[in-house]
């Protein structure tokens, strides 16, 4: 069944694999899974994860809403313009107040450098805030949140804060 070489390897393994330094006991294993009944999953993990997600969303929304209300004008909801990653949006000045205010583009999902380019081309200042907080499905260096949110009209030269997770 085994060829010569395979047989030699099998012999070698049986000879060379050492005896374990200590045995395990059932108590150790049961202790590690204390609180879990056989046949059940850890019952607390899902609610805890869900609660954590809710807290993150709530905090983000609250922060965004704070910036929104502090902004100069209500956001024109219909004009949210995602910035394509290949070509930056042309600077769109808000009608009626030329060169005085701009509509904040969507930069969530762009790499930090691209987000900075897009915003600076519109005359906006950029503040990059790095976060060590784990964000669901986030990749390091990719913008996950921005203040003010896309679509908000802000004075030109306003500062847009982008939140970027770091590894």
């Amino acid at each position: 069944m085994l060829n010569v070489e395979e047989q030699r390897l099998a012999d070698l393994l049986k000879r060379a694999v050492p005896q374990p330094p200590r045995e395990l006991s059932a108590g150790q294993i049961a202790g590690r899974h204390a609180g879990r009944r056989p046949g059940s999953r850890a019952p607390w993990t899902r609610p805890v994860l869900a609660a954590a997600a809710v807290v993150i969303i709530a905090v983000t929304t609250a922060l965004a809403a704070g910036h929104w209300s502090a902004g100069t004008a209500p956001a024109p909801r219909g004009t949210v313009q995602p910035a394509a990653s290949s070509s930056p949006p042309s600077p769109r000045r808000t009608q009626g107040s030329p060169a005085r205010s701009v509509t904040v583009p969507l930069v969530i999902g762009l790499p930090t450098v691209r987000a900075e380019q897009v915003l600076e081309r519109l005359g906006l200042s950029v503040k990059v805030t790095e976060t060590y907080v784990a964000v669901l499905n986030a990749q390091p260096g990719i913008v996950v949140t921005q203040f003010p949110v896309a679509g908000t009209t802000v004075p030109s030269k306003a500062t847009v804060t982008v939140i970027v997770p770091v590894a």
Binding site: S25, A26, I29, R37
Partner: protein, 171 residues
């Protein structure tokens, strides 16, 4: 939480064999091996009602262990060292005797991928057939064959093992 006496007995009988297989899987790391066996036995314990009635709870426990190990890839350090060349060893030409077999083996294991280590462990340490190995790993017999061939090809070039495998100076 009363622990079944059956399970305690199972652990006493099987933990040593599982630990030795885990030593191979983890590339000769006892700490990681113990962690692996404990995790696998934990899974077995959770479903002990069903598993204890099986024909071969031992085989099932090994299956859980190998699959747990393969799932660990990427999530944990598996002892793989990406390296284009095989590190120098103290082996002198033609002389295997000076190199400790165990150290050579440990070094050799780390040259293999996780799947190759799993195949080697199941096929040559636990003496399972290609079909059994394939069933445990959830892959085809062809994959088992190709993985073991690749593993052997790699081991053949590890100083210290080469002699043993080619029958030079088997100690």
């Amino acid at each position: 939480m009363t622990e079944s006496p059956d399970f305690a007995d199972f652990v006493r009988r099987r933990s040593s064999a599982m630990l030795r297989s885990a030593w191979l899987l983890t590339g000769g790391d006892w700490a990681l091996a113990e962690d692996l066996v404990q995790t696998a036995l934990g899974e077995v314990w959770k479903r002990w009602d069903r598993i204890s009635g099986m024909e071969a709870p031992d085989a099932y426990a090994h299956k859980v262990m190998v699959n747990t190990f393969l799932r660990w890839r990427g999530r944990r350090w598996t002892g793989e060292i990406a390296s284009g060349r095989i590190p120098e060893t103290g082996a002198v030409a033609g002389g295997f005797g000076q190199v400790d077999t165990r150290e050579s083996l440990r070094r050799a294991l780390r040259e293999l991928t996780a799947r190759q280590r799993a195949v080697i462990t199941l096929r040559y340490f636990e003496d399972r057939s290609e079909a059994e190995t394939a069933a445990i790993m959830g892959c085809s017999v062809g994959t088992v064959k190709s993985q073991s061939a690749k593993a052997l090809a790699r081991l053949r070039h590890v100083p210290g093992l080469a002699d043993v495998l080619t029958g030079g100076t088997a100690c």
